[in-house]
């Protein structure tokens, strides 16, 4: 087994941190536009959890990199090609069903991910995960309830939820992919094993879709590239909005 380099750990931390950061930004877009007021509060709460995890992960990533970049430098001053988030989290919210499908697929991944990272050989990563996993359980629960309600709801809500699941499904491939970085870090005991994550994810999502009277889409088209910085155009617009204040007024504070 080859020695782990700080570059590999940095890359892995960016993946985790960027997934959380971009998911937070997308969830935050619902604020004051949700179908009901309680949902505004709920999605904003989930966004805040993701942002909190992102801050801890990116702060640590900056320390591992050792180039003097803090959480703000990493969040606000990188260009799209430098982000390592999966494509799923940068997809536009479209409608509420798509948002719920993204939330379900992401939280069904993040919960077993953080669960596994609690026993990571990296103590700092383990303590961040121990915090985040409890919050992820609430995220998954929230997404699962909406999936049931919409899937097994009216004809129209069922139609929209099925369309959303079909549209987002291809992006799950990248989320669960066992690429070189993930596999190597997992074999060193630092990261979660992608094969176990896939099994855990399927055992959560497949029965839930069935209970919600939704069809599990067939696997096929599997877009990827986010983990190496090749993103959809949607990320650029998202970053434009997220970063404009910090870039226009460096060091601005509330």
């Amino acid at each position: 087994m080859s020695e782990l380099t700080s570059d590999q750990l940095f890359d892995y931390l960016l993946r985790l941190g960027d997934d959380a950061l971009i998911a937070a930004q997308r969830l935050g877009e619902w604020y004051a536009s949700s179908p009901e007021m309680e949902e505004d509060v709920a999605l904003a709460n989930l966004a805040l959890d993701q942002l909190g995890a992102a801050r801890a992960l990116l702060t640590y990533a900056g320390e591992v990199e050792g180039a003097g970049r803090d959480e703000d430098a990493l969040a606000y001053l990188r260009a799209d090609r430098e982000f390592r988030n999966c494509l799923l989290v940068e997809l536009p919210n479209e409608n509420f069903a798509v948002t719920i499908a993204k939330l379900l697929f992401l939280s069904a991944y993040q919960l077993p991910l953080y669960d596994a990272l609690v026993s990571s050989s990296d103590a700092r990563l383990a303590e961040i995960a121990a915090k985040a996993r409890k919050e992820s359980a609430y995220h998954l629960d929230h997404a699962a309830r909406w999936t049931l309600r919409l899937g097994d709801g009216t004809q129209e809500s069922h139609r929209r939820m099925q369309a959303a699941v079909d549209a987002v499904w291809p992006y799950v491939h990248e989320l669960l992919a066992a690429d070189e970085t993930a596999t190597r870090l997992a074999s060193s005991g630092l990261a979660a094993d992608p094969a176990e994550l896939r099994a855990a994810w399927l055992s959560t999502v497949e029965p839930l879709l069935a209970e919600a009277t939704l069809d599990r889409p067939a696997d096929g088209w599997a877009p990827e590239g986010g983990r190496v910085g090749r993103h959809t155009e949607h990320l650029s617009y998202l970053l434009g909005e997220m970063q404009v204040l910090h870039r226009a007024h460096p060091g601005a504070r509330w």
Binding site: E38, V41, A42, A44, N45, L46, A47, L48, D49, Q50, L51, G52, A53, R55, A56, L111, D115, V118, A126, E127, I128, A130, K131, A132, R133, K134, E135, A137, Y138, L140, D141, H142, A144, R145, L148, S203, T204, L208, E211
Partner: protein, 164 residues
């Protein structure tokens, strides 16, 4: 002198739930005073993204300055992760008195298993009339740590601190 720094920090109230102190909430982990007079305070967040942390840090420094400890540092520790089980008995009593139903045991979510897709039906007692006949309106409330409930008997809505 030892002890007054601790007492000063322990009396800081939570900025979002102002009836309880940070010690009663269980987010105050340690207060250490060195011979030089420098005080190091360790706190832990309730939720990863708790927006009150900056205010809590500032309030701790203010309390220490007033108590004669201008040289203070506040550090944040994530481990062990905070749980609602860390809220003290007096903290629970004060929450209930302020109309906020305290959390039940944090067990179910801590086992690491997949959460049920069905609502947990542990009864939350109405903090106003004590009735167990209550319902959840929204799992997410005015702060990250709260859910919104309603009493079917007295019809009052109330906050409930979610088990975490």
């Amino acid at each position: 002198m030892t002890g007054d720094a601790r007492a000063a920090v322990a009396s800081v109230v939570d900025p979002e739930i102002r009836v309880v102190t940070i010690e009663e909430l269980g987010i105050l982990r340690d207060v250490r005073e060195e011979e030089s007079g420098r005080v190091t305070v360790t706190i832990t967040p309730t939720y990863s993204g708790c927006p009150a942390m900056d205010v809590i840090r500032a309030d701790i420094r203010t309390a220490l300055r007033v108590a004669g400890h201008p040289d203070a540092e506040v550090v944040t520790a994530l481990s062990p992760a905070w749980t609602t089980d860390n809220i003290s008995e007096s903290g629970r009593a004060k929450l209930a008195a302020a109309g906020i139903a305290p959390p039940g045991p944090a067990g179910p979510f801590l086992a690491g298993r997949r959460p049920s897709v069905v609502a947990l039906t542990l009864t939350v007692r109405c903090p106003r009339c004590g009735s167990p006949d209550t319902e959840e309106i929204s799992r997410f409330g005015s702060t990250a740590c709260k859910a919104l409930w309603r009493c079917r008997d007295c019809a009052e809505p109330f906050d409930h601190i979610k088990a975490l």
